[in-house]
């Protein structure tokens, strides 16, 4: 695949982690084993390098760092440097060849659903996870907007947190190539996360589903307390349901998204039926079995489809479990969840 820098997800698998970033590789792997992921494509790490090279942004970033990168121990300096670099990166026009290739693949996403400017998301996909969130842009419409947002994702590798992290660790400041996943937006009625092992206790016999109305960003971001469901992995039986406050939801606006206060009628009831929870959990089990490790999966319920097709997956990654607990502490946790929190 040398020379290429754009791949439809169907062509990718987990072995392509270093080439396109984890998120893209895993989306590809999920597509490959027949799980429902939205249509889309990945820009590889090479796309980043290519853009930085052809446009001359790479050189200018180096120059920028040489001139201002000595005093990165001060927050204001880091912020200044970050701003300067991101401006440099984002102001470069996309090279024509890249612009056209991205454009034609973008148009394809629209063709199959009969839309001219299909709404998509542009999500960062690092090969290694570093602290400092790289950007994700939702509900992007039209090729020009998409190109702008891809550049913003790339530019986000120079955000202040990432810069100072790389500085502290002695990693190169001038570049941190990442992939970008471009995905058709799902008309999410409900979205959230499924942890295939209870993340709080490390109990692998139980799964946890967190859910809120609208796009999953309200759950991923952790600002709004979602509904929580505990599911027995073996039987997919819903053992516990906790109504979250779900005070705010994220929904698409004309372009991009907006966070709104949740209407009382919606915040006061659970957003998933037991059947939906079981379907989400089922996909979670499948992923855990396939990857051989507990997974942390982002999913959405497509409001345009009905079960079981309505469950769409947006990302999966190995779950970070609570530190492996001593047996006696595992038992105490179990005692609480089985006898106390009913």
């Amino acid at each position: 695949m040398s020379g290429r820098w754009l791949y439809p997800f169907e062509e990718l698998g987990k072995e392509h982690n270093d080439m396109v970033g984890k998120k893209c590789a895993n989306l590809g792997e999920m597509a490959k084993i027949g799980l429902p992921v939205p249509q889309g494509f990945a820009l590889s790490l090479d796309a980043y390098r290519k853009f930085m090279g052809i446009t001359g942004a790479a050189e200018e970033v180096v120059a920028c760092i040489e001139c201002r990168g000595n005093s990165l121990d001060c927050i204001a300096e880091v912020n200044d440097l970050s701003r300067a670099i991101r401006e440099t990166v984002e102001s470069r026009p996309m090279p024509r060849e890249m612009d056209e290739t991205i454009g034609s693949h973008y148009t394809k996403i629209g063709t199959c659903c009969g839309v001219a400017d299909p709404p998509v998301s542009a999500r960062s996909a690092g090969a290694v996870s570093y602290p400092g969130q790289y950007e994700t842009h939702l509900n992007v419409k039209g090729k020009d907007d998409l190109i702008e947002k891809i550049k913003k994702v790339w530019g986000s590798t120079f955000n202040p947190t990432s810069l100072s992290f790389r500085h502290k660790k002695g990693l190169p400041l001038e570049s941190d190539p990442i992939g970008v996943a471009v995905l058709r937006m799902v008309n999410a009625r409900v979205a959230g996360i499924v942890f295939t092992a209870d993340p709080n206790t490390g109990d692998t016999s139980r799964m946890m589903v967190e859910a809120n109305w609208g796009l999953g960003e309200s759950v991923v971001g952790g600002e709004s307390m979602p509904d929580t469901y505990i599911v027995e992995k073996k039987t997919l039986k819903v053992l516990e349901k906790r109504l979250g406050t779900k005070s705010r939801i994220v929904v698409p606006s004309e372009k991009g998204t907006v966070e709104e206060e949740t209407p009382e009628e919606m915040s006061s009831r659970l957003c998933l039926s037991d059947e939906e929870v079981a379907e989400i959990a089922k996909v979670g089990v499948r992923l855990e079995e396939h990857f051989g490790l507990p997974q942390d999966v982002e999913w959405a319920i497509d409001g345009d489809l009905s079960l079981p097709d309505a469950v769409v997956l947006l990302q999966t990654r190995p779950e970070v479990l609570a530190k492996k607990k001593e047996p006696v502490d595992q038992l105490l946790d179990m005692m609480m969840s089985r006898f106390v929190r009913l």
Partner: protein, 560 residues
């Protein structure tokens, strides 16, 4: 309207208010049948309720403050005093720390308490110069009253507190193990033979006591005394033995055994049946049943049971996912100890304290009767502890008959009735039971599996299958009817029934769950047993041929 509870305040049942407050109250047929008498309700039963609440407070149980109890027509009804969600959240972190030692070192905790109790009983006797049963007659009325008060307010309280701290911890542990078992293997633990194989192979104090009886029986045979036992009624054996040197030597040995292990009444939850040390003939009957056995049945089975346990443990552990194996094994060890405790504690808790109560209270009964306050010594059981206290000094001044007669009449009526199984909304029972796993001590529901087409379904079972003739025995005084090799069908069994496990080929009981006496003892003796069938004694008649399937936890009535 308040239902009278033999004039005992706070035990009266209020049909409206209590049901509204608690949702449901369940009849405790395990402890309350036949119905208790006022003296026991006011002392032993009171301290058990205190004990439950004390245990809940000490362990800081998140979901319950302990049990509450009411009496309807003399039968006890129990329910949980539940915590609010806020209380539960606040109690949780403390509970985690308090229950931890029981998970980590159950034995050490129990050994400590056990020694405290034995020391307390010993001091209570020795400080008053008491050793033999009849020594209590030497106390003057003041001393007897002081002993009574010590018993009713200190000794019994301490016993109840230890008893229920241990019981609550052991039921939380055992309940969690059964839950984990179900989650991992998909089977209800209480009727899974593997579960019982893993839990078996531990010797409780009660088994040691029965072994001593068997050994005494064998010794009598070696000494050529067999015929005395065979030809003489239980009560007269000792008198007759005393006519020979060998017999005297044997009765001395038996007496030493009683001084150590005879502090037990036939009925644990009352003071109205005699203790072995009081009536040595009680032990003689049991010795007769055991003496023909060349090997003590428990010992014949023990090695096999213990070996099978080790094998099953290994096999079961290999089925547990690796990340949960450490926790499972720790829990299994603690649950084995809890199961063992369930049998072991009766000797140190219920039986011992009950016999001390019998000792003191019937001595008052004797004195009241002698002084003309009541007609018969055993009428003392219809008095409340406060009445006994107030009438004790000066002895003979108060006519207690009016108090006795009315309650005695009521009690006799209550003996004849079938108690309501519950009051309130039975749909709430599960919720109440879940809020406090210890409630299943007294209440358990059969696991019905219609595909097995059985006549009775149990709530718990000890593995093995046997076909045989049924013998229905409604209370321990009828035990001598039991023939070797028969299948015992009974409302339940308690430690005072321990000898039957050496005689029967299987058991069916109406009450009892995974930690109940019949299930634990049956699996130690390698006998099939199905417990918690609810209607066993009603559906099965003596002489019926039945199949007890302890592997499935069901009973078939083959022919009537």
């Amino acid at each position: 309207m308040l239902h009278d509870a033999y004039d005992l305040s706070f035990y009266e049942f209020d049909e409206e208010k209590d049901v509204k407050e608690y949702g449901v109250l369940l009849c405790d047929v395990v402890h309350g049948r036949p119905p208790m008498k006022p003296a026991y309700m006011g002392i032993g039963w009171y301290w058990y309720y205190h004990g439950v609440r004390h245990g809940a407070a000490t362990l800081c149980l998140p979901t319950t403050h302990g049990w509450d109890s009411r009496f309807v027509k003399g039968y006890p009804y129990i329910t949980a005093i539940r915590t609010t969600p806020e209380e539960a959240a606040a109690r949780e972190p403390v509970f985690r720390e308090r229950i931890r030692p029981f998970l980590e070192k159950f034995d050490e905790v129990w050994d400590g308490y056990k020694n405290d109790l034995l020391e307390m009983y010993k001091t209570a006797k020795e400080s008053r110069g008491l050793k033999e049963w009849q020594d209590i007659r030497k106390l003057d009325n003041n001393e007897l009253l002081s002993f009574f008060l010590d018993f009713a307010f200190v000794l019994n309280r301490k016993e109840g507190e230890v008893h229920f701290i241990m019981l609550m911890a052991s039921y939380y542990i055992s309940g969690l193990f059964q839950e984990m078992w179900r989650e991992l293997f998909g089977n209800e633990a209480s009727i899974d033979p593997d579960f019982h194989r893993v839990m078996a192979g531990f010797e409780a104090q009660d088994t040691r006591v029965v072994r001593d009886l068997w050994r005494l029986g064998r010794k009598a045979m070696e000494m050529g005394l067999e015929n005395v036992f065979k030809e003489t009624a239980d009560d007269e054996v000792i008198e007759r033995l005393k006519s020979s040197d060998a017999g005297r030597q044997w009765t001395d040995e038996y007496h030493d055994f009683l001084l150590e292990s005879g502090w037990r009444c036939d009925r644990m939850h009352a003071y109205d049946t005699p203790a072995w040390i009081e009536k040595p003939g009680l032990g003689i009957g049991r010795i007769k049943m055991l003496m023909s056995r060349e090997v003590f049945p428990f010992d014949a089975e023990h090695e096999r049971v213990a070996r099978q346990r080790t094998q099953t443990e290994k096999e079961v552990l290999s089925r547990v996912p690796e990340d949960r194996r450490g926790a499972f094994e720790l829990l299994m060890r603690a649950a084995q100890k809890s199961g063992y405790w369930s049998e072991d504690h009766t000797f140190y808790c219920d039986l011992y304290i009950g016999s001390l109560g019998r000792w003191i209270i019937t001595e008052f009964g004797r004195r009241f009767a002698e002084a003309g306050c009541i007609d018969q010594p055993e009428d003392v059981h219809y008095l409340h502890p406060n009445e006994i206290r107030k009438a004790a000094i000066p002895m003979g001044r108060i006519n207690l008959r009016p108090y006795v007669e009315r309650r005695k009449k009521l009690h006799e009526e209550n003996l004849e009735i079938e108690p309501e199984p519950f009051f309130g909304d039975i749909a709430k029972a599960q919720e109440v039971l879940r809020s406090d796993p210890t409630l299943v001590v007294s209440t358990q529901l059969p696991i019905v599996r219609e595909e097995l087409k059985a006549d009775l379904y149990g709530a718990a079972a000890a593995p093995g299958v046997v076909v045989g003739t049924a013998r229905v025995i409604m209370n321990e005084s009828l035990l001598p009817e039991l023939q070797s090799g028969e299948i015992l069908v009974a409302p339940g069994t308690s430690a005072s029934w321990a000898v039957v496990f050496s005689i029967v080929s299987g058991l069916v009981t109406d009450g009892g769950g995974a930690l109940s006496h019949p299930v634990i003892m049956a699996r130690e003796f390698g006998l099939p047993c199905v417990s918690g069938c609810v209607e066993g004694t009603r559906k099965i008649k003596t002489g019926d041929r039945i199949r007890v399937d302890g592997d499935q936890g069901v009973v078939y009535i083959l022919s009537k």
